[in-house]
Amino acid sequence: MSTRLHPLALAALALGFAFLYGPILVLVVYSFNASRLVTVWGGFSTRWYASLAADGALVTATLVTLKVAFASASLATVLGTLAALALDRRGRFPGRTLFTGLLVAPMVMPEVIIGLSLLLLFVALGVDRGLWTIVAAHATFTLCFVAVVVQARLATLDRSLLEAAADLGAPPARVFLTVTLPLILPAVIAGFLLAFTLSMDDLVIASFVSGPGATTLPMRLYSQVRLGVSPEINAISTLLIATVSLGVLAASLLTARRG
């Protein structure tokens, strides 16, 4: 089998990647534009990055986003791992298939519907909307990603390792802490990073369930863009892209690692 790509295939590949990443590349390049006009190149500069720090509203939104992402990812990681453990039990329990379906459904559910239904729920319960309602909403829709990643890891785990630990005198909780958890930890961390990045770049659900004083970065960007694109937006977007890419990259490295 030849490892060389046919020139046409190579061209198709280049076009495909250009289509996917061209716009992002343009955005990143223009974030280093010295000119105030977004579409006119005025030389290299990092002035927009410097002016970001001075934009109080943007800094606040960034902090809110990080807080929400951290809290919701932590919550989703704990709950998603527990769900994966429940689904992995060898003995099938009644309703296991239904439970799996219900757990994975949010992955394909339109975000608008998740956002709207959560909003209705929070209103019906009389919960004041703010940072914590976003956390709860994000944990809800990122939980399934954690569960899927952790479950994939659990499926490859040799059962006899857990039996060996029990055989050597470890009660069930200690088997989990000393054998199961260390062995699935890469998947758990990968799940956390996925949940973190998903929460960071969510706009739709956050817009539905947020309240006064809890504006996330994507919400802030969206509202600013409606008034016109500023070079600052390019800069903050570039930072956002970098963070998310790092998170996803780390997550995939952790899942790919063996042993």
Binding site: A164, D167, L168, A170, P172, T178, V179, G259
Partner: protein, 350 residues
């Protein structure tokens, strides 16, 4: 003990007494229930009925982590995220022993299995033989009353297996721990075991030393499991267990010994004859003691320590007989007589 999965019995009414300090082998084909029996002893499966007594204490309801019994897994099940020493010390840590005590016992185990230099290695950087030793050391570190071994040599290649068998015996002698070994390899069971329990379709068919199983098989299955055997079917004459009885076969009446009760008079039974116990003599005249069968020699195979002859009997069946190497070889086509000594012919139910 009985264990059923759904309505399918995996282990059916097995009753077994282990002597302290012995190596007991459970021998049988895959799916015969031997592993299920072992897992019940370890506590991973609960018996559907019956009891497991260790020093008079019933273990049936006791979870695996509270049983004074340890298991060596077929896959070894070494913890990949711990070093060799970490694996061996794992069980000791669960007992809450002092650090110094754990270190001393771990070092002692490493010495026992001759892995002193590899304490810090990870299991994935060990050879198959080394992994097997770590698994053994880890299971023995807690000084269990009974050690359960599930196909302990199954993953090793042939040359390594023989050396490891001897080593396993040696370690068991030194520690005096009772070993229960599950294996599907009759040769391995014969080398390792003080006593062998043969299992077939969930039942314990026969328990005894290798010699007993070989010379006095209780069933046709046991006779065929250990070594080569000639089987001649027929109808039983009068008599009972412990007696010499006549079996009416297509080759004429033959006398065999009924060790375990082969059945009522008139029932069909099988005469099991080891090839090395058939007395091969040239010529067509009988020799007098016991029955002898006329046959025509088909071929001779020189096997180094013995010569294997195949001979066609009067009804056309082929019987196998061996003679020690060095005896004058007989030529194919020659008429021979196969002497059947009654004490070496075992009668088993058909």
């Amino acid at each position: 003990m009985t264990k059923r999965f759904g309505t399918v019995p995996a282990v059916e009414a097995v009753s077994l007494d282990l002597a302290a300090g012995e190596i007991f082998c459970l021998l049988g084909p895959s799916g015969c229930g031997k592993s299920t029996l072992l897992r019940m002893l370890a506590g991973f499966e609960a018996p559907s009925a019956g009891r497991i007594l260790l020093d008079g204490r019933d273990l049936a309801g006791v979870p695996p982590h509270r049983r004074p019994v340890n298991m060596m897994f077929q896959s070894y099940a070494l913890f990949p995220h711990m070093s060799v020493a970490g694996n061996i010390a794992y069980g000791l840590k669960q007992e809450g022993l002092a650090k110094a005590e754990i270190a001393a016992r771990t070092a002692e185990m490493l010495r026992l299995v001759q892995l002193e230099g590899l304490a810090a290695r990870r299991p994935d950087r060990l050879s198959g033989g080394q992994r097997q030793r770590v698994a053994l050391a880890r299971a023995l570190a807690k000084r269990p009353r009974v050690l359960l071994l599930d196909e302990p040599l199954g993953a090793l290649d042939r040359s390594l297996r023989e050396a490891t068998q001897a080593e396993l015996r040696e370690i068991q002698r030194r520690l005096g721990t009772t070993f229960v070994v599950v294996t599907h390899d009759p040769g391995e069971a014969m080398v390792l075991a003080d006593r062998i329990g043969v299992m077939d379709r969930g039942r314990l068919v026969q328990v005894g030393s290798a010699a007993t199983l070989y010379e006095r098989p209780a069933t046709r299955y046991v006779a065929g499991l250990l070594g080569d055997v000639n089987l001649i079917e027929g109808r039983l004459g009068p008599g009972g267990a412990g007696q010499a009885r006549i079996l009416d076969t297509p080759l004429g009446p033959l006398t065999g010994t009924d060790h375990h009760g082969a059945g009522e008079a008139g029932a069909s039974a099988v005469l099991a004859l080891r090839p090395e116990r058939l007395r091969l003599a040239p010529g067509s005249e009988g020799e007098g003691d016991g029955e002898s069968l006329p046959a025509t020699l088909l071929d001779a195979t020189y096997l180094g320590d013995r010569i294997l002859y195949r001979a066609r009997a009067a009804d056309g069946r082929v019987l196998r007989a061996t003679a020690p190497a060095g005896t004058a070889p007989l030529a194919p086509g020659e008429a021979v007589r196969l002497g059947v000594p009654p004490e070496a012919a075992a009668l088993v139910p058909a």
